[in-house]
Symmetry: C2
Amino acid sequence: MGDPRPGEVLLPFDPGARADGSVSFIGTIRSPWGPDDCPKNIGRARETGKAAHIELIEGYGGGLLGLAIGQPVILLYWMDRSRRDIVVQRPGHADGPRGVFALRSPARPNPVAMATVRITSLDPEAGRIGIDAIDVFDGTPLIDLKPWLETVDLPPAV
Amino acid sequence: MGDPRPGEVLLPFDPGARADGSVSFIGTIRSPWGPDDCPKNIGRARETGKAAHIELIEGYGGGLLGLAIGQPVILLYWMDRSRRDIVVQRPGHADGPRGVFALRSPARPNPVAMATVRITSLDPEAGRIGIDAIDVFDGTPLIDLKPWLETVDLPPAV
């Protein structure tokens, strides 16, 4: 992502230059998508019928023990091609400015994005996990994979 | 978390020493809980009826523009008191070893935890967000806040 648009508001500092902790990539998301054809959201990615998979870095395959094919999981991945300092944004789909915490924009103080997907295959030895679909570029770095749990991940009842 | 238990498997490296990217804290979660009385999960935290809130670091209040009271949001927070290299774990609640990616354990390669909560109050000027409940220690660092979206955050239909 490039320069701020008119009406956008910048932080007085760059969060990318304030290192309170470090992330370590655990693998790579392999998708059919590049900058020219990546679906705008995961719903559209699913509609294409095109699957994706994850390649874990060597050493992490054992971490899959207990996961099952068909299970929903949450992927956390690192969207580090975007600016981190745009606190008020003007997304094309909205009719006015929006705060970064009201958006799922990749341009955010910490570029951690998430997708909830379903496991379609599991190969712990090769560190390979098939998933139903995803709306990210091929090669996007993965930082976590968690089981999706109804008791934790659904919003509380009103 | 301390030393590995019998049967646990360590990575041959420490992910905490592999910095592929940096996180920057955006605020602090203020909860009623410390190490002695913290509920074991968010369901139990809700049952206590005790609320919590977030204090954003100066500069981030504008990022709340467009959020509404009552809206569900996802908090990402940083659990950096745990080891990052235990790839197969033996949690007390399970009958055998489990891979880290099959668990929501705070001991994981990247200590990013998540909670889906409901906004109960909003003060952008003070950078203060009330939430219904949470199961973390008072003072836990926050790294992101995202709107929960049904179209994105529910698992795909089978």
